[in-house]
C-alpha cells in the first residue's frame, strides 16, 4: 500500500473535522474522495501533505509514518499537491510556477520536468512568461497541476481540481489526470462533482461529517451517487 491512513483525527481548535478516517491507496490507483462541503475531504488531503497536524491516528506513506515529517519534507518524499481553488503564485510567471514545484531538485531535473510538462500541456510554453495570475481559471488549474507534477511525485494529491471550472476545462483537466495516471502516478483526489471525477477513478470513498460512510469500486460509488443524498 502506497498510502495508508488509519483512524485519522483532525481538530481545528475545539472543532472536530475528521474522526477516525481510514483510507488506503495502492500504487497505481486513482482514488476519489467524494462528499459535500465540510465532509472532511480537504482536511484529509491537508493532513497527508502536512498542512494540518493529525490529532490522532497514523498516516503511512510508502511504509514511513508521516507524523514526525515536516510539511516540506513530505513533498520531497514524493507527495505532490495541487491545492483547492487553483492557488498559483499570481505574480510569478507560468514557468516559475511550474519550476517552483521542483524546489531543491537541481536545475537539470527542473529542466527535465519542464520539458516533459510543456510537451503534455502546450499551454505552459505558450504562456511561459505571463504572470500566472492573469490566466483563466482552467489555465491556472493546469499550471497548479503541472506544478504538482514537476517533482515527479509518486502520489499526487488533487483537492477539488474541477471546482468552478467550465465543462471544456473539466474535460482538459480530466485528460491531463488520465495522462498522469498512465505514467504510473498514483492519485488521491477529492471532488464534489462526482460524475466527471468518477470517470477517472479506480476506487472511491464517500465522506460525510468527518467520517468515511462508504467505500467501494467506481460502479458502487456511482450507484450511491445516483441514489444518495450525500452527493
Amino acid at each position: 500500500m502506497l498510502l495508508r491512513i488509519e483512524n485519522l483525527h483532525v481538530r481545528y481548535g475545539g472543532i472536530s473535522a475528521l474522526s477516525g478516517v481510514s483510507i488506503d491507496v495502492a500504487e497505481g490507483e486513482t482514488v476519489l474522495l467524494v462528499g459535500a462541503n465540510g465532509a472532511g475531504k480537504s482536511s484529509t488531503i491537508n493532513a497527508v501533505i502536512g498542512l494540518v497536524p493529525a490529532a490522532g491516528g497514523r498516516i503511512m506513506f510508502d511504509g514511513v509514518e508521516l507524523s514526525s515529517v515536516p510539511c516540506e519534507q513530505r513533498a520531497r518524499h514524493g507527495i505532490g499537491y495541487a491545492p483547492e481553488g487553483r492557488r498559483v503564485f499570481a505574480t510569478l510567471s507560468v514557468t516559475d510556477n511550474v519550476l517552483s514545484g521542483a524546489f531543491g531538485r537541481g536545475r537539470v531535473r527542473q529542466r527535465e520536468a519542464l520539458d516533459w510538462l510543456c510537451s503534455v500541456f502546450p499551454l505552459l510554453s505558450e504562456r511561459a512568461k505571463q504572470p500566472a495570475g492573469q490566466l483563466s481559471g482552467g489555465q491556472q488549474q493546469i499550471v497548479a497541476l503541472a506544478r504538482a507534477m514537476a517533482a515527479f511525485p509518486r502520489l499526487l494529491l488533487l483537492d477539488e481540481p474541477f471546482l468552478g471550472l467550465a465543462p471544456v476545462w473539466i474535460a482538459q483537466i480530466s485528460d491531463a489526470i488520465t495522462q498522469l495516471h498512465r505514467r504510473g502516478t498514483t492519485v488521491l483526489m477529492t471532488e464534489q462533482m462526482a460524475r466527471p471525477a468518477l470517470k477517472l477513478a479506480t476506487r472511491g470513498y464517500v465522506m460525510r461529517g468527518g467520517e468515511v460512510r462508504h467505500s467501494g469500486t467506481v460502479a458502487e460509488i456511482r450507484e450511491l451517487a445516483l441514489a444518495d443524498e450525500y452527493l
Binding site: L51, C71, E72, R87, F89, F103, G104, C118
Partner: protein
Amino acid sequence: MDASTPHAGLTEKLVRRERFLGGAEIAAILTFAVTFAIPLLTKSVLVYSVLNQILVGVIAAQSVWIMLRMNLLSFATPAFMAIGGYTVAIAGRHDITDAFLMTAAAFLLPALVAVPLGALVLRLRGTYFVLVTFVLSQITQLVLFETPALTGGSNGISGIPPVTLFGSELASYREMLLFACGLALLATLITALLTRHFRQHFAAIEENEILAESLGLVVWRYKALGFIVAAGVAGLAGYSLVNMLLTAHPSSFDSITAVDFIAYTIVGGRVSILGPIVGSTLLVWATNLFGTHGQYAQGLYGVLILVVVLAARGGIVGSVGALARRLRS
C-alpha cells in the same frame, strides 16, 4: 517523454536565464560603477557630502529590501549597522584599519550575530516580526550606552583613523568617498547575487509561504539565509557611515533611522533592486534641500510612504515600469 522534445530549447533558455543577473541587477551594478566617476569629476563639498549620505542610505536600504523580498519588514537594520560600524571603530582604536580585513569583519560579525537572532525572530510573521526587530534596535541602543568600556557609552568612539588600502591611508575626502563607492558596489553585488539566485524561492515565500512549503520549499532555510546576508549588508552600511563621520556614536544608529531606510525602499519601489537605489538617492537629496529644516524630512517620508501605499504600490520604479509597459502596448 524525453528531453528531446521541441520545447527543450525553449525550456533550457528559460531555466538558464535564472542563473545570471537580470537587467535590473546589471543596471544597479553599473550605477555604482559610474558613481566612482563623480568624486573624480568634482571637488564640491556639497556634492561629496550628499553622495556619501546617499551611498550609506543605499546600502542600508538594500538590507531592508532583501527582507522585503520575503515579505518581512525589518526594523533591525540600525542594530546590525551598529555592530558593523562599532567593529570598525573599535578595531580602528587598535590601529587595525586595513580596508579588506575591516570590510570582511563589518560584514561577517553582524551576519554571525544574525544567526542566533534569526532563529529567534524568524518564527514570527507580519506585525510581530516588525515589532521584535524594532525592539532589537532599541536593545542595541541600550547596549551601546551601557558598555562604555567597549563602545565609549554616550560619548561614542571618535578620532577613528582613516581606512588603509594596500598600506596607504585613504585620508582625503575624495579617497574616502571612492571607498564608500566601493562599499556600495560590493553591497549591491552581494544583494543582486543573493536575490537573483534565489529569486523563485524568495518570490514564492513572499506570495504564499504555506503553499511554498507544501511544494517542498524549506522556508526557514531561505528566511535565515536572507536575514543573515541582510545583517551583513547592514554591517557594511555601518562601516560606510563610520567611515564618513570618523566617529561611532549611538545617535548614528538610532532605531528611528530604520524608518528612513524603509521609506527609501518603499518609495523607491520594492519590486526591483533599483528601488532602494532610486529611493535613497531621491530622499537623501530631498532631505538636503530642506537645509537647516532637516527635521521636516521625517514628515516628508511619512507623506511619501502614504502616497506610495495608497496610490502606487510599486513605488517609483514600479510605476515607471508599469507606465513603460503601457506605452509599449
